[in-house]
């Protein structure tokens, strides 16, 4: 049984360790800053964790309602989502996404958005399975 709850400062080590294991890059300072700004921060910011009935953290999601980013009306943005591979396909990712979407909806927005590496088919498939489709924007890059 997976429980979703707001993240707390004490979750930092488990969040940073899970992310480092999945991405191969340690970013403890980044996650410390994210937790400081999103966990218990302004009401439009959300940082949620998924944990087992034994209290083991198996995933997290962070997002925020932002207005007029790139000229778009207010929408909920998903900035990060990670689930322990051993717990995947058990509903933790969907539960995190649904919980974040419910919070966005409660704040009055009608759309949820994210940005994904187009070569990361795993995460693309996950968001597609949540019902997400191509949005109104195209991301553009230029090498400087």
């Amino acid at each position: 049984m997976i429980e979703i709850r707001p993240a707390e400062p004490a979750d930092l080590s488990a969040i940073a360790a899970l992310d480092a294991r999945l991405t191969g890059q340690a970013k403890a300072v980044y996650w410390q800053d994210m937790l400081a700004r999103y966990a218990g921060g302004p009401p439009e910011r959300h940082f949620l964790v998924a944990e087992t009935s034994r209290g083991v953290l198996v995933g997290f999601v962070a997002g925020e309602v932002r207005a007029w980013e790139f000229g778009q009306p207010p929408a909920g943005w998903v900035f990060a989502i990670q689930v322990d591979p051993r717990q995947r396909l058990k509903g933790a990712g969907s539960a995190l996404f649904d919980a974040l979407a419910a919070r966005f909806k409660a704040q009055g927005v009608t759309h949820v958005r994210t940005l994904i590496d187009r070569k990361d088919h795993l995460i693309l498939s996950f968001f597609r399975a949540q019902g997400m489709t191509a949005g109104p924007s195209l991301q553009l890059d230029k090498v400087l």
């Binding site: 396909l89 187009r118 070569k119 088919h121 693309l124 498939s125 968001f127 597609r128 399975a129 019902g131 489709t133 191509a134």
Partner: protein, 131 residues
């Protein structure tokens, strides 16, 4: 995006069969459902069968059923059976010129976005939330 006829028929057939893996449908029944020729569908079903996504066959009246994993098979898995892979297509005349290579970069960008989209949509996703 324009798909070859065989690709479109392959997607129709696999999605219809995957809706109910216990159900068996013949090429004729599938052809009637989508208003396409039984002959074309029989060839497509042969390709899907060789790839292990469906089982059955033997003649136009033989039935097929879905034998794959709806959560694992993506639209790209089916498209790749019928369309040339972007990296494997033959070089077009003029592609080595400055204009040709600039145009090719744009076309490659489009191919990459299309491939990412097709790889991200599983049969399960299609059948649960038809877009």
């Amino acid at each position: 995006m324009k798909l070859q006829t065989a690709t479109r028929l392959g997607l129709y057939a696999i999605l219809e069969l995957a809706r109910d893996p216990n159900r068996t449908l013949s090429a004729a029944e599938l052809g009637e459902r989508f208003g396409v020729s039984t002959h074309s569908l029989a060839k497509v079903l042969g390709t899907l069968s060789a790839a292990g996504f469906v089982q059955g066959g033997r003649g136009a009246s033989g039935g097929y059923r879905f034998t794959g994993n709806r959560r694992r098979i993506t639209l790209m898995d089916i498209v790749a059976l019928f369309e040339p892979a972007p990296g494997r297509r033959a070089k077009e005349p003029g592609e080595d010129t400055e204009i040709g290579s600039a145009l090719q970069r744009v076309l490659t960008e489009i191919d990459e976005i299309a491939e990412a989209t097709l790889r991200s949509v599983s049969l399960e996703t299609m059948l649960r939330r038809p877009n």
